[in-house]
């Protein structure tokens, strides 16, 4: 079954793409709704390749976001970690669900993530209180089916 394994190289490539996507300047109206692609990838790889994408992997992905956009180190890393933990807990069930139900749960995960970031922002003393900060939750959940379709196709073809 070794050819059935998802290679580390593939995970790394997608992660690099997502990190670049996180800082690419987008036009103003879309910018606020930029989906957290890296977090979606962490969820995806936690579901389909949990031995490669463990909690430590999620933590380092979060740390990368902290370095690029964060106010304080460890904030996004913590939020990523919690989401990855929940995904791993549900992994065996979640990956046989239909995509619509997955998207619903992904919506929940993203909401938890945004809430954690928001909460930690508040503790640090620099909260962002516009409602627009919750837009990535919606856009991320909408992106989920697309992401699954693309990555599944890729994984099956290159297996």
């Amino acid at each position: 079954m070794s050819e059935g394994r998802i290679s580390r190289l593939r995970v790394t490539v997608t992660v690099i793409v997502a990190i670049i996507f996180a800082v690419v300047p987008l036009p103003e109206p879309i910018n606020a709704a930029r989906p957290d692609l890296l977090l979606l990838l962490v969820i995806y790889w936690s579901l389909s390749a949990p031995r490669i994408a463990g909690l430590l992997f999620a933590w380092f992905c979060g740390l990368a976001i902290d370095v690029l956009k964060g106010i304080v180190l460890g904030q996004h890393a913590f939020a990523f970690l919690v989401v990855a933990y929940m995904t791993h807990k549900l992994q065996l069930r979640m990956r046989i669900w239909p995509v619509s139900q997955q998207a619903l749960f992904v919506f929940g995960f993203l909401a938890v993530y945004q809430f954690l970031v928001f909460w930690l922002d508040g503790i640090i003393g620099q909260p962002v209180t516009t409602w627009q900060r919750w837009l990535p939750v919606l856009s991320g959940a909408l992106l989920w089916p697309v992401l699954v379709a693309v990555l599944d196709t890729w994984n099956r073809r290159n297996r």
Binding site: R5, I19, V72, L73, G74, I96
Partner: protein
């Protein structure tokens, strides 16, 4: 449905349990956050992590730079000639304005020495380019392409050709993050140039608006007044233009008037900004205050300061300062 690979989590057996991983990494993240916010112990770590992120920025910026290069190299002759004529015209005007500058500066230095005031004039500057990367859509922060290597330091004032832009909040090895004066968490002490009333201009989260929440109803301020930095924070040097007052509303029942101003710096159009190293005298001005502010540039720190605004006294009296210092020969002060 997500691809099923043979690679699923073990149900029984090897590997540390998930809960332990969560607990351990959670503790690590909390520890990192505390070290970073409370003590600022991770400055060097951040310096190098930021340097590691540099390739990402390089990749992200390539299309923009390529476009700049293309338009630059294929710009047509007539446009260049027009631009050239315009620039030399501007230079001429600026030269004429500068004619008196030297003598005025000499006079200023002499007068300040007489008054034993220590506000320096001028300083070293360096041009930094704003990078085309997104920092945070909800905060007014931008990244510039100069960092600790170039001597940039935290809380360094940043200007453009029209006024104060903001200050440096975080420094990496080769880049730095600025907070703009319009950010909702930023406040800058200002004074009305016409009569010297001091106040604090707080960012409103809107690029075209600052608000001055501590102007009393009876204070003498009108629309069109120029606000300049007062230098009381020990971060921004005194006398640089900040904003124009755009709106004053007085309700006699209230204590404070509603005053709004528009930043003079072109916060949304700048491609290049000026980093400023002020003369040493202004930097040693108030060490205690400065270290207090250095912890965070938030509005909360600036509020309880003596400058607090309500006074309508002329700004002739300057705050008590340590023994006078002649503005010394300029020396680039690396922090």
């Amino acid at each position: 449905m997500v691809t099923l690979s043979s690679d699923s989590r073990n149900i029984i057996g090897r590997g540390p349990p998930l809960g332990a991983g969560l607990f351990f990494l959670g503790l690590v993240s909390v520890g990192v956050m505390m070290l970073d916010t409370r003590g600022g112990y991770l400055e060097t770590v951040r310096l190098w992590l930021g340097a590691a992120a540099n390739p990402v920025y390089a990749v992200v910026q390539t299309p923009g730079q390529l476009w700049d290069w293309l338009t630059g190299s294929f710009a047509d002759r007539t446009r260049l000639r027009l631009e050239n004529a315009e620039l030399s015209e501007q230079l001429r005007v600026a030269r004429v304005k500068l004619l008196q500058f030297d003598s005025l500066r000499e006079e200023n230095v002499r007068l300040r020495a007489v008054r034993e005031a220590s506000a320096g004039v001028g300083g070293r500057t360096m041009i930094a380019e704003i990078m085309r990367v997104d920092v945070d859509p909800f905060r007014h922060r931008v990244r510039i392409n100069k960092g600790a290597e170039d001597g940039v330091f935290r809380n360094q004032p940043v200007l453009d050709a029209f006024g104060i832009v903001g200050q440096v909040v975080q420094v990496d090895k080769y880049s730095a993050t600025l907070i703009l004066i319009s950010d909702a968490e930023h406040a800058i002490p200002v004074q009305v140039n016409r009569n010297g009333i001091r106040s604090i201009a707080v960012g409103a989260g809107d690029l075209n608006k600052l608000s001055l929440p501590y102007m009393t109803v009876e204070s003498d301020v009108k629309t069109g007044d120029l606000l300049v930095s007062s230098g009381l924070d020990g971060i921004f040097p005194a006398g640089y233009p900040v904003a124009h007052v755009t709106r004053v509303e007085r309700n006699p029942a209230d204590t404070f008037a509603l005053v709004e101003a528009k930043p003079l710096a072109q916060l949304d159009r700048d491609r290049e900004v000026l980093l400023l190293w002020t003369d040493p005298p202004t930097q040693v001005e108030a060490p205690a205050q400065e270290s207090d502010i250095a912890s965070k540039p938030a509005a909360a720190t600036s509020q309880p300061k003596p400058a607090a605004t309500t006074e309508t006294a002329p700004a002739a009296e300057t705050p008590p300062k340590p023994p006078a210092a002649q503005p010394q020969p300029q020396q680039p002060s690396q922090e």
